[in-house]
Symmetry: C2
Subunit: 367 residues, 2 copies
């Protein structure tokens, strides 16, 4: 609340004085020595905010919420890693349980298309049903669809707010916020209670969305969209950045296509693409092996040719094994096919995730 | 025409005997020594095809077409580079003028969506109007849209056929083929006159489409699409492979999105993305500098702030120069903005192609 103190100045003060309490016991000379603004020094010396802070804590608790401090042991570890983590974080609901699971942020335009909203809903549902916590910003459009997808899957979701916890914005999302809490999700904000929606606060909110997440999926974004800023911040936070492509004729997909084309975002077609980019232990747990049935008889399973393959694909699949890579020339010789025919069949098998290409044009079956 | 002789065997024969004529003067023992099939040897010894070949040449000339041989000086240079170039290539129309210009192939599903067809039409028009020759396969759907886009721009286009030159397929594309010829384009086929449409010929046709081109743009492709085979072959021919993204909910974009996600195809949003990937001399000639007006007064131009920028973008743009890269921290200090605000503004400027990011988070204006 202290005027002139943002996240970076707060961290500097904490580093200099050891604790928030010590800051308020510092002498004027000490405070002046670190180049604070006069009104900041006056406010700290006057201690007139301490009473308001005590009231704020009380009100927050009355709301059933809590305030986490940056130097708390329980402060979210991923968020602490970023350049400018909030020093106080208001949390309401089962935030610890939410953050115990892998976290994926989903963001996008407020003025989104039906395509964008359906995609957000579908991907959030698929990810949340597999225990991934969906993080978004409670805004209209993509954000709301992402939260709703998680709720539909009976999964967990965190809404990071750009207002005080008691000021749900937009107001007609109050029911959505309630449902998130009821279903084991959480609301999070760095802003004091009563903070109204102010445009300048939303970029700060966005860095918390990406900061709490292993990666950020941009569903739709127009040319000058806040979601693109979130994407850029996520990159600066060393988080994964994913984007859903869309028709190049759609304004709403201009930004996501651009992120894939020019900014290194990974193209996402389905939930597996995201899970495959999470840390290996999580990916291995969530991505089922391609063939699931008949696990007791691996040999029988390996001799099984999946259904729905073309004749050529079947022939190539039978030639391949799970452990000895074959070069495309060996395949051409064994199958009596041309490289062109082979290429098509191999691509088909790769797309069904039955076959993996190794460096040097070698191929093996996936297990 | 000789039974059992495909492109590779033909090349081997030419290498062994020096010329096609010498092959027909070879002894049975010589032919047997290189492991040809008995019926192939019989056919060569009997020389019974020579008469048919003479008639074929005559008919081809009567059609106003010509036959190029792999060892002709005028055989298309790009096509000669591929693994298995056709030894004879039937050409009709202004093929030399077409191949004197940069060539870009555009292919996609026959059963394409309106989105795909519009995109093909638009990109072909944009590229052809800048002197790029559009190469495609005269098929329904994307191919036809690509040819038509080039024609609309009064540009050049080559149709590579999977049938004999006299067997336009599908038959209702005969008018399209005529228009292509009338407007300084060309028809090309490796198949003898009279060859009917046969499914097994189209993959061969596809390798000629990519073989004649600097790169291949896949507009739309479903999961098991011939266009994906063309993409893979283009990669094996070391040609650029580009793909237009589309909604992940569209069957027709599954393959193109997959190519971008998993096969290294570059995402294309607009014609400039393709031109930018052509050899540098061509790209430099076709891509106009970002600011075109007032070239006489470069200084005035440089001090000009483009229209339509946000206040933040304007401020950042003014801080940047065309020759001295500034680090993002320097920009933050000079602009008194947070890195988050800066990131958004810089991304906006990058997307308008006003600013370029250099390695190490440094930024300059584009010229």
């Amino acid at each position: 609340m202290t005027p002139g103190i943002g996240p970076r100045a707060a961290v500097a003060l904490l580093e200099r004085f050891g604790s928030a309490e010590s800051v308020f016991h510092a002498s004027r000379a000490e405070l002046e020595s670190i180049r604070l603004r006069p009104e900041t020094i006056e406010s700290i010396m006057a201690r007139d905010l301490l009473e308001r802070a005590a009231a704020e804590i009380e009100q927050t608790r009355a709301l059933g919420a809590d305030i986490l401090l940056l130097d708390d042991g329980i402060y979210p570890a991923l968020l602490r890693e970023i350049f400018d983590p909030p020093i106080t974080l208001y949390v309401q609901g089962a935030w610890e349980a939410c953050l115990d699971e892998p976290t994926v942020a989903m963001v996008g335009s407020r003025r989104s298309s039906t395509y964008g909203q359906n995609t957000a809903l579908m991907l959030a549902r698929e990810l949340a049903s597999r225990g991934i916590t969906i993080i978004s910003g409670l805004a209209r459009g993509i954000d709301a669809a992402a939260h709703r997808g998680a709720l539909e899957a009976r999964g967990r979701t965190i809404a990071v707010m750009g207002t005080g916890l008691d000021q749900v914005y937009p107001r007609d999302h109050r029911k959505l916020a309630e449902e998130i809490l009821e279903q084991g999700g959480a609301l999070v904000s760095e802003f004091p209670l009563g903070t109204p929606p102010a445009p300048q606060n939303f970029p700060y909110r966005n860095r918390v969305i990406s900061g709490l997440s292993l990666g950020v999926l941009i569903i739709e974004a127009a040319e000058n969209s806040g979601s693109l800023i979130t994407a850029r911040m996520a990159m600066e936070q060393n988080r994964e950045v994913w984007a859903v492509p869309g028709n190049i004729t759609s304004r709403n997909s201009f930004g996501t296509n651009y992120l894939i084309k020019g900014a290194g975002a990974k193209l996402i077609q389905q939930w597996q693409d995201i899970v495959g980019e999470l840390p290996p232990d999580i990916a291995a747990r969530l991505l089922p092996p391609a063939v699931k049935k008949g696990e007791k008889n691996l040999a029988a399973q390996l001799s099984l040719v999946p259904e729905g393959l073309t004749g050529t694909e079947q022939a190539i699949f039978k030639l391949l094994s799970t452990d000895t890579p074959l070069h495309i020339d060996q395949l051409a010789e064994a199958s009596k096919m041309t490289v062109s025919e082979l290429s098509g069949a191999l691509l088909g098998l790769e797309m069904r995730e039955l076959v993996r290409q190794l460096p040097g044009k070698c191929f093996v079956r996936r297990l």
